[in-house]
Every structure is written in C-alpha cells, then in structure tokens.
C-alpha cells in the first residue's frame, strides 16, 4: 500500500520503486497515481487557503463573571450580605475578622469563607469563635475565584439574611480582578506597610468600597503619613470610605461595625428595589 496516500494501488510494489516526487505548491506529482494527486505532506489543497481568521470576541474574565453573577443572584435571593476582604499578607485581616464576628455573631448569623494558598490556620482561628467557616486552599492560585466561592458557599450553607465574610488570599494585586459576587469590597491596609501603597497598587484601591487602615495603635512607632495615605487613596478612588482601626486594641472598631450595619441596610434596600422593579 502506498505510504503517502494509503491507496492500494501498488500493493506488491516495493516502497523504493514507488518513489514519490512530491508536488511543489499547486503542482501535482503523478508517479503512477495518474488517477489522483499526491500533495506534499501538511500541504494545502491547491486553491484552498488553509490559513484563515476566526472572529471570537470572548472576554477572558467572562467565565468568572458568569459564576460571580450566579453567586450574586443566590446571595440576593437569600438576603445574604457578602463582603470580600482583600489586603497584602500580614495586614491583620484575620484579626479584624475574628474581632468582627465575635461581635456580630451575638446579634445575627455570620459565616466566613477563608482563602489561603495553604493551611487551615485562619479557618481554625475563626472556628474558635464558634462561627461556621469554610477554608479554600488555592494551591498555586493567587486569588479566589467566583467558581470556588460558589462551591464554598454551597458547602457552608449560611442562613438566610446572614452576613458572609470572604477573606481573600493575602495579595494586593490579583484579587482585585476577580468578582466573587460580593456586595461590598473591603481593602485593609496596615500602618506598618507604607502610605504609598494606594499609588503602587491602584487596581485594588480602585475597586474597593472602603479602606480599613489597620494597626493604628502602632502609629507612634512607625513612619506612616496617614493624611498622605488618605490623599493617595482618594486620588485613585474619590468615593472610597476610609476607617481607622486597631483590630487588636479595639480602637475604631465601633466605626467599622457601624459602617457594616449602614452598608448592609443600604444593600438590603437596593435588593428590595430590584425585586420591585423586576
């Protein structure tokens, strides 16, 4: 059988006697295959342009966005107020969260989704407060995505009208690009980091609703210009709310809790309007 085209023509013929003089572009080689044409391997059929353009128009964030929309719909249907907490590692997210859920769990239902690359250390700290928690380990991943959060939410099954905190992976860059379906985005910056962080990582501060400036009890020990920090943050995002907090010492916690209550009330009203309009 011919090894090039698979035709059974010279079944008995040795491959060496059946030398293929391969065709150049558009030119057919015959070599005993007069009734059909051999083309060079991987060549185009003459007259047909094999290379072509395919129009696609697909957003790379679209897949995450679809999951985020579905999460948001679930959250709104069940009145679950969801916050996405983002910051660099070590800013005090978990401490702020522990102190917050300690207070909130006294008056209503609270649940937490923890995101880290490895370990369930943060989940254990939350679990110690008695609040339901689910840990997502992202492995190599540098951010939580809406798909993972959707599964964590199913697993956690928070009560209707509860507050759900999502502690994102400690990273001031990537989480800003991934909508999880949350109602509010919180960026936490600590005074041990440097006041120019909003300028260096503008994406995060642009998408946030509130900046919690944490560890203010350390202000007297570090060189941190609070005014400059706030100016930088507002230059990036003029509508950003700013709160000064010390999660360990308790200063500013009342303002933070009040902000949460006000935002939740506003969000609930917004949802009710959507339902009436829909």
């Amino acid at each position: 059988m011919c090894g090039v085209c698979g035709c059974g023509k010279e079944e008995q013929e040795l491959e060496s006697k059946h030398a293929h003089k391969l065709a150049r572009d558009g030119e057919a080689a015959s070599n005993g295959h007069e009734d059909h044409v051999h083309l060079p391997r991987f060549a185009h059929a003459p007259g047909l342009s094999a290379r072509r353009m395919v129009q696609v128009e697909q957003d790379l964030f679209a897949k995450n966005q679809r999951y985020a929309q579905s999460n948001r719909q679930n959250f709104e249907d069940r009145g679950i107020f969801v916050l996405n907490l983002m910051s660099s590692p070590g800013s005090g997210k978990t401490t702020l969260l522990v102190r917050t859920v300690e207070v909130l769990s006294g008056s209503g239902s609270v649940a937490v989704i923890e995101g880290d690359q490895q370990t369930d250390r943060d989940a254990k700290r939350i679990a110690a407060t008695g609040v339901p928690v689910h840990q997502i380990n992202t492995g190599r991943g540098c951010h939580l995505d809406a798909h993972g959060v959707g599964h964590a939410y199913e697993h956690l099954a928070p009560a209707d009208h509860s507050v759900l905190f999502i502690e994102n992976v400690g990273n001031l860059v990537c989480p800003s690009g991934f909508d999880l379906g949350e109602a509010r985005r919180v960026v936490i910056l600590s005074v041990t980091e440097g006041e120019d962080k909003p300028l260096k990582y503008p994406d995060m501060f642009r998408v946030a609703d509130v900046m919690v400036l944490n560890k203010i009890d350390l202000l007297s020990h570090v060189e941190f210009d609070v005014d400059a920090c706030c100016t930088y943050a507002r230059a990036i995002n003029p509508s950003l709310a700013i709160l000064m907090v010390s999660a360990t010492r308790g200063a500013g916690m009342a303002d933070w809790l009040e902000w949460l209550a006000v935002e939740q009330a506003q969000w609930v009203k917004g949802c009710a309007r959507k339902i009436t309009a829909g």
Binding site: V54, V56, D59, L60, C142, N171, G177
Partner: protein, 112 residues
C-alpha cells in the same frame, strides 16, 4: 501571577473554538488588553507559552491590540488613555468619566 489562570481560560476558549470551527493549529491570537485589566502583558506571554504546550495553540503568537480610550472628559470631549492621578481632564480640569479599560478579550485568531 493570575496571568496563569487567565491563560488557562484563554487556551480553554481556543480549544472550544477548535472543535466548533474545525482547526488544528493556531498561528496567532489577537487580544485586547485594557489598561485597567490588571494584566501584565509579558507575564501573559510567558503564561501562554507554558499553558498552550501540547494544545492546538502551542507556538501561536500573542498579538496585543492597543487598549481603547478609557477616560473621557464630559465637558471638552478630550479622551485619555491613562487616567491622570487627579482624575481630572488635562485640557480643562473637569472630572473625567471612565469609559472602559478593564477589557481582556480575545478578538480573533489566525488558524489552520
């Protein structure tokens, strides 16, 4: 860092298209990358090389299309590719309106 995850979405879209559009090789992929998409183009190229290995997209060239205008002055109509830190129009000082910049979409592919 998350460019890797985005490259996985990109290759998934290409492979989906390969079955729909019947192609087995991709020569180039044109991507529109908005200035606010939070994506580093060089990291994207690197990630794409790694993730596309062994797929129809292996060896394809990533063509990055210039990002669209994403700030517009409502008063004088000036358009800016970068949002100035002040958020104000460089021509007349009015507050600029954001008109885009977060796009990260695959536009077209040259395939065979």
């Amino acid at each position: 860092m998350h460019e890797m995850a985005l490259c996985e979405s990109l290759v998934a879209i290409i492979e989906e298209q390969a079955t729909v559009e019947h192609f087995c090789r991709v020569h180039s992929v044109s991507l529109e990358v908005g200035a606010l998409a939070g994506v580093e183009v060089e990291a994207l190229r690197f990630g794409f090389q790694v993730v596309s290995q062994g797929t129809v997209a292996e060896g394809a060239e990533l063509k990055i299309l210039p990002s669209k205008v994403f700030a517009r002055c409502p008063l004088c109509g000036a358009q800016e590719l970068m949002l100035p830190p002040s958020g104000s129009c460089l021509q007349c000082g009015a507050k600029l309106h954001m008109t885009g910049g977060r796009e990260l979409s695959i536009k077209e592919m040259e395939v065979e």
